[in-house]
């Protein structure tokens, strides 16, 4: 970008990449999960929902600590990394994606689950009397009806990943272009007293957060009006 030094621009680009990939993966994982949570009658359903919600309450240091061990040579991450000859998933972009998916999961699952629950049984029953298979009913009836929830989940997931700091600080290793994202770059700039750069990035974050929340409110308004 014009006149922006690399150490500002590279973290911005990386943050957008990380948030995009994490959000897409989250939608793929969270949608079936939310569907199951909304429809299942399994007795352990709420326990599973609780596990998914844990990152909302736990400090990022708890996640960061467990992830550092889980991604490392003694954990499952190390086993996966050994497939391509690496020793650990820490300090890698994939490691950050895994961390972001876990820590942003509740923010995506919750709104989608609520949207599926709001759809209720009736439209699906109607679909089945019209001989739609359950899969088809899911894709053509439930999913479109729940799309405001999916959108909310995607926006929240994206925003939460952009705002992720503690987990990334603990598992990232601060590698420029690979694991140094906006939030950790700001921290670095403040630590090294480069306040002009810190200000630039931090101001951008504030503007971004404002835009996200405002967009959410406006979208919600539109959907409620359209639904009413």
């Amino acid at each position: 970008m014009l006149g922006m030094p690399d150490d500002i621009w590279v973290p911005i680009k990386l943050t957008i990449e990380l948030a995009t990939i994490s959000t897409l993966s989250l939608l793929v994982v969270a949608t079936p999960l939310a569907w199951w949570l909304a429809r299942s009658k399994a007795w352990f359903k709420e326990a599973a929902a609780t596990v998914i919600s844990l990152p909302m309450v736990l400090p990022p240091t708890v996640l960061g600590f467990y992830l550092l061990i889980a991604l490392g040579p003694d954990g499952p991450g190390g086993a996966i990394a050994s497939l391509w000859g690496a020793r650990t998933l820490a300090f890698t972009f994939s490691g950050l994606v895994i961390g972001s998916i876990i820590s942003s999961m509740p923010f995506v699952v919750q709104p989608i689950r609520n949207a599926f629950a709001a759809v209720g049984d009736r439209p699906l029953e109607v679909a089945s009397t019209l001989r739609a298979s359950p899969t088809r009913a899911f894709w053509t009836v439930a999913l479109p009806l729940a799309s405001p929830g999916l959108l909310t989940g995607a926006v929240l997931g994206f925003a939460h990943t952009v705002g992720e700091f503690g987990v990334i600080l603990m598992i990232g290793g601060n590698i420029p272009g690979r694991t140094r994202v906006m939030s950790t770059a700001i921290f670095d700039f403040v630590e090294t007293m480069r306040w002009r750069e810190a200000n630039l990035l931090a101001g951008g974050m504030v503007a971004f957060a404002f835009a996200v929340i405002l967009a959410m409110i406006l979208l919600e308004k539109r959907f409620t009006r359209a639904g009413a």
């Binding site: 300090f91 603990m170 601060n174």
Partner: protein, 248 residues
């Protein structure tokens, strides 16, 4: 009404937190790498003088920022000499109170590969990740980079470097074996027997002078001055050496 009472209680609580410290208590901001010796020194200090040193541990860079924003510390034990000097120059510390309390030793440490001959291990480069502290913010990180440059291996190793935000994190990356090896402070290995280590010869990097300074807030505090005097004394020096620092 209830809310007003609650608010009043809250304000009273805040005021009690902000109340000036007792004459015989000093608040010392201590660089993370000096945590263990500082605890021992503070304990001995209390036993010998009756004064209490409340220790706050953290990164020197963050401490400096906090000090410029009126943090309630009276003494600052930095991991470098730069920040205490800046504190004096910018009027946050008492002029002439600055002195070197310890000189840090740098160690290459690994729990995976053999680094007994560190120079050869670095030149061979048979590893994927090398952990160092952030060289811009942490003096041990700067020293690590200087060492690799002096050995002529920096360019080759650069893609393998991962940075901890502090020397504590650089240590933790090696300890969890996420990085095969890393440059840490000798003081961090005080109680560690695992792995192999190579003490980096002092001629490969500029000395890591750790300076202490009396902050403006402590200019009239007896306990703070006593703590700094104690830090210079033989009892404290014995502890400092025992934890793997050189004395000035």
């Amino acid at each position: 009404m209830k809310l007003t009472a609650l608010a009043t209680a809250f304000v009273a609580f805040l005021t009690s937190l902000a109340a000036p410290a007792d004459a015989d208590v000093t608040h010392v901001a201590v660089a993370a790498n000096f945590t263990e010796p500082a605890k021992e020194i503070a304990a001995l200090f209390k036993q010998k003088t009756g004064h209490e040193a409340v220790l706050i541990f953290g990164a020197s860079g963050a401490f400096y920022t906090q000090i410029t924003h009126s943090a309630p510390f009276e003494v600052f034990l930095s991991a470098d000499s730069e920040r205490p000097k800046m504190a004096v120059d910018n009027g946050f510390a008492v002029p002439d109170s600055r002195f070197t309390y310890a000189i840090g030793k740098l160690v290459l440490w690994s729990r995976v590969v053999d680094v007994t001959n560190g120079e050869a291990a670095l030149k061979a480069g048979n590893f994927q990740k090398l952990s160092i502290a952030n060289p811009v913010a942490a003096p041990y990180g700067t020293a690590a980079v200087e060492t690799m440059k002096a050995l002529g291996v920096y360019d080759a190793l650069q893609p393998k470097i991962v940075q901890g935000n502090s020397i504590a994190q650089a240590f933790q990356f090696v300890d969890t074996r996420n990085a095969e090896l890393g440059f840490v402070a000798l003081s961090q290995l005080h109680a560690v027997t695992e792995g192999t280590r190579w003490e980096v010869p002092a001629n490969l990097f500029s000395p890591i002078r750790q300076d202490a300074v009396l902050l403006r807030t402590g200019a009239n505090s007896e306990a703070s001055k006593a703590f700094l005097a104690f830090l210079k004394g033989p009892e404290a020096q014995a502890i400092i050496e025992q934890f793997g620092y050189a004395l000035p």
